[in-house]
């Protein structure tokens, strides 16, 4: 194994060279977290080390975090951007795969897994064009949680420039920012991590005031 690959081992979760392991240190967690966070920002970390002389760590981060690979989806009359990094797959469900769980909303059966179904139209107070079995499900993952987002249509894949919504406005739950589409219209970028977390808490129930579509 070449040295460069050996150095990478310290990023492996659970890898430790500590002689003594306590409750909080020496468990081989820290460097894994470092690499994961850098990777989340779209960067990477390099190591070079010479025995007895020292080690250098080079962290490379993209100059701008302002560009994002996204999938534009239509929900009712609106267009939203789903960051590509969160998307696992998209599928059209068969009606027998859609199940209701009393008091808990709907789930969709995908290859042995039951995933919570999050109809974006209902969540955002819009009028969906399709029923779930005619719509498209986007399976997204954040952390270890998976959720199926129900949308009306997949429009295409874009690189979008992230614009702040908070500069002139406030934070909106479930939305991480906005972008300007090719036709000059504004599309909101969905905050998948937030949606996945709040899907458990029932985001739809949390919002009382709704914009009539």
């Amino acid at each position: 194994m070449p040295d460069s690959e050996v150095w990478q081992l310290i990023f492996a979760p659970g890898f430790s060279t500590a002689a003594e392991v306590t409750d909080i240190s020496g468990r081989g967690v820290g460097m894994d977290v470092v690499r994961r966070n850098i990777a989340d920002l779209g960067g990477r970390i390099e190591i070079s080390s010479v025995l007895g002389q020292g080690a250098s760590f080079v962290i490379r981060l993209p100059l701008t975090l302002a560009i994002l690979d996204g999938m534009s989806v239509a929900v009712g009359s609106e267009v939203f951007i789903v960051p590509l990094a969160y998307i696992l797959e998209s599928l059209q469900p068969r009606s027998e795969d859609l199940r209701r769980v009393a008091g808990r909303g709907e789930v969709v059966h995908v290859r042995g897994d039951y995933l919570p179904l999050l109809p974006l139209a209902r969540l955002f107070g819009l009028q969906a064009r399709h029923s779930p079995e005619d719509g498209i499900l986007l399976l997204v993952q954040s952390g270890d949680k998976k959720v199926a987002l129900q949308v009306d249509e997949l429009l295409g894949q874009h690189q979008v420039v992230i614009k702040s919504l908070e500069e002139n406005f406030r934070h909106v739950a479930g939305v991480s920012g906005a972008t300007v589409m090719g036709d000059g219209r504004v599309a909101l970028i969905l905050d998948i991590a937030d949606l996945v977390v709040t899907s458990a808490a029932g985001l739809a129930a949390r919002h009382v005031e709704k914009e009539p579509a």
Binding site: K163, E167, N168, A178, V186, E209, E211
Partner: protein, 154 residues
Amino acid sequence: MNADIREFLGFSLGSEEYAVDILKVQEIRGYDAVTHVVNAPAFIKGVINLRGTIVPIVDLRIKFELGDPVYDQFTVVIVLSLAGGRVVGMVVDAVSEVVALAPNDIRAMPQMGSVVSAEYLTGLASLGERMIILLDIERLMSSPEMGLVETLAE
């Protein structure tokens, strides 16, 4: 010319006439398609792309409960430039004129109940037969009841 004279931009909402400090006005434009913001109250119409910045649009006619808002070719958006560089657009029925008012043209607001808290109404001015309601737009747009800015309570 008296140095105390201030200029206001007059606009109409339904049958009422309002005015805001003209120094807060950045531009006036037509009403364009807006992108709805999810789970926002009805008077927040959404956001628009104003030369690359995302600007929220509020409809004062809905906020002030002044009849059914119509959107036609006369519907106007007054783009305001507020403290801290914040830009907000407000939908009004029509922009009327620029009025110059001296301090003694402005009458204090009588005590009364209104849809909007009276602290955002700075006074009344009469112009011939007409009455113009002066708005403290800076305070109104930053107030928690507009929900345009993050408030500590949230």
